[in-house]
Symmetry: C2
Subunit: 461 residues, 2 copies
Amino acid sequence: MPDQANVKSEIIALIDRKDLAALKKYLEPWAPSDLAPIIADLPIGELAVLFRVCPRDLVVMTFTYMPPEGQKKVLKLLTQDQAAALLNALPPDDRTAFLNEQPLDVAMQLLSMLTPDERQVAQSLLAYPEHSVGRMMTLDYVAVHPEWSVRQALDYIREHGYDRETINVIFVVDDLGHLVDDIRVRRFLISPLDRPVRELLDGNYTMLSPADDREKALELFKKFDRVALPVVDDNRKLIGIVTVDDMLDVAEEEATEDIQKLGGTEALDEPYTTISLARMIKKRASWLVILFLGEMLTATALKYYESELEKAIVLSLFLPLVVSSGGNAGSQAATLVIRALALGEFRLRDWWRVMRRELVAGFSLGVILGVIGFLRISIWSFVFPGTYGDHWILVAATVSTALVGIVLWGSLMGSMLPLIIKRAGFDPATSSAPFIATLVDVTGLIIYFTVAFMIMRGTML
Amino acid sequence: MPDQANVKSEIIALIDRKDLAALKKYLEPWAPSDLAPIIADLPIGELAVLFRVCPRDLVVMTFTYMPPEGQKKVLKLLTQDQAAALLNALPPDDRTAFLNEQPLDVAMQLLSMLTPDERQVAQSLLAYPEHSVGRMMTLDYVAVHPEWSVRQALDYIREHGYDRETINVIFVVDDLGHLVDDIRVRRFLISPLDRPVRELLDGNYTMLSPADDREKALELFKKFDRVALPVVDDNRKLIGIVTVDDMLDVAEEEATEDIQKLGGTEALDEPYTTISLARMIKKRASWLVILFLGEMLTATALKYYESELEKAIVLSLFLPLVVSSGGNAGSQAATLVIRALALGEFRLRDWWRVMRRELVAGFSLGVILGVIGFLRISIWSFVFPGTYGDHWILVAATVSTALVGIVLWGSLMGSMLPLIIKRAGFDPATSSAPFIATLVDVTGLIIYFTVAFMIMRGTML
């Protein structure tokens, strides 16, 4: 019966028939973790009914699978008591994430519904900075002591394992709660039952601090292929764990941030479809205005070359073509370098290797475009004589020479600027494709007119 | 002793002292999975020594943690027999990935080193398309039968679990090998030992087909928070599993592809630092040439407006400013929409909602830039009289009106084109920021001159 659509429609049918007894019976044999993702997809009306009849385990699990919008709606449908019970039963990391999505006043109101113990937990998790490991950690782990036997440990897991976030990794702590080791549960399963836990230790483990950035956690998970990592305080006391399933979301959010910055906008930090229009416009306007102010320098530069433009109006025809090719080359280089930096493929001190590559690539790409540009102008001048005047050969030479210089320049700027920005301590993704394009536009104009002046002096200029 | 730097330097010291007996003894108590990532970081010379003394488990595990370049070097350092033993012992999914990185002739040579059984496995995995689930799956899973008791199942896991990729999920199959269910190992741990496995079944599981794209696997892992998913053939026979640790790499690779495409280049499919220059130039040139050919239309359009340019040379001063602002707005919109599509935040049929948002956002952003542009030209004309001629107010009106139109147009193009491209069955990330910018450049010129003609007719034009 693996067909989830069937399960879903069966549940909806039972709700429509208002047969709550049958519904309860239908839900009973399921593991909450398997049913929750299916229920989370239901329309809000059906959900409200379900949440009143479901066992609490299932309600809690389902709630964690829902998007923030749905969670908010569900909470409103419940009575005060039901909502309080639900909030208190939520795993601490999911509750932190949920509270974090709410406006401050709503979050405070929800906090007040918690029991004193749970409130303390929630407040301590919320006290960690956003995007920190502390915000993502859960307190539901299984810890055993080194002097126990494997049998004792397995018995303990059997008793306490069910409501823990993961039992794939078992943590070993001493009497003071200090982390001694983390052991995969498989090690317990394949060991003789009377062996002491101490003999299973290998002394090798990786730890996180609650203040670490979540990107560090992501890196460690990728490097060590673990399903859970321990979080310890300054005294190496075990205070929580982070699990790999949260990492897929972290990886996705980090990629989204980088992609949005590369596209020339502030990271939205909310889904495109649900962010308020005013907030989205604000996030986009800031960069757009910065780029506009930068691009204004092109008007200043062109003003400086106005007499050349008047003498050779043909130069203005190729202005957008030449200048934007530099921007495109720059945005390619910037994108590749920024992504390689994010993946740790090279370090800042390797800048010379990158520059050497971009010198060759930029020059080659410039020559390719230069040749195409030269052919374009020559062919047009043969087919439609007079299009670009008598001196078309000079025009073609100017455009193609300028293209080589500008594409090379764009590639160098695009590849080096992210490194400089990173060196200065900022996020290299800030040097977005549009940002590079704007810089190259301004400098490209100067290259274009300098080349024109050298080639056309005495004839057209 | 969790400090990995210490472990590493201790190992290096032992190798330098050529004390292989002590080295062997030092390595013995470690779990291969914990030591492997540390060893994988060692310089190649030390690695070659280590690989000769280490137990095979450790060698194999270490090999899977190394980057493809390092793997190739290590394989060359080993004798033919050693290399064959290593290859035969590799987990099938890691071996597939490794073979896939090699040129065809090397891959064939390596395949010939495998035992007939392993060769058949390797060839069948390699037969699946690139980026398919079949290429990523491993055959090392634990399967039990429904008629067994929990005790029998745990005994079986104790005996066979050690060299399996994961025992966090146990698969239940019938006598013909058909998948019946997947059960988390925790369910076995917390159940009475004499309960039959059949009573643990909940009938709820998700399956993959080996031909599925790896993005589908990623989606299911995100949705269901599993650590492993079963892969079945057309007859629902269990043929392998995919584990969550591979998903972090998939998520990263998919994001890299999207980012590179958005930056206006073909996806490199190799690290920036190691791809050959010729291949990188080829991947960048194709898009750069396409964009260049598109951008040529600006020269054609400008030729058409040449007489207007001659009459009002001042128009050419603001050409790059006006046109690039449209490109920037378009690249913002495209980036946001493409990422939202990739994350499944909305569907194609929601295009009207997106368009409505972009109509408002584009207009607002256009007005913001238009006002700034108007102020810039007015202030300059007061401070430096004559900069933009007597009709500067007309110039300011033209530039700011054109900005509103072009930014609005850019936002609409940027948001709608990815949807159109997706509708046509292509990857929406293809409509990169530079691609949108080029399109908006050409159409932006027409908007600019049309506005100029309307405002300046009878005075300057």
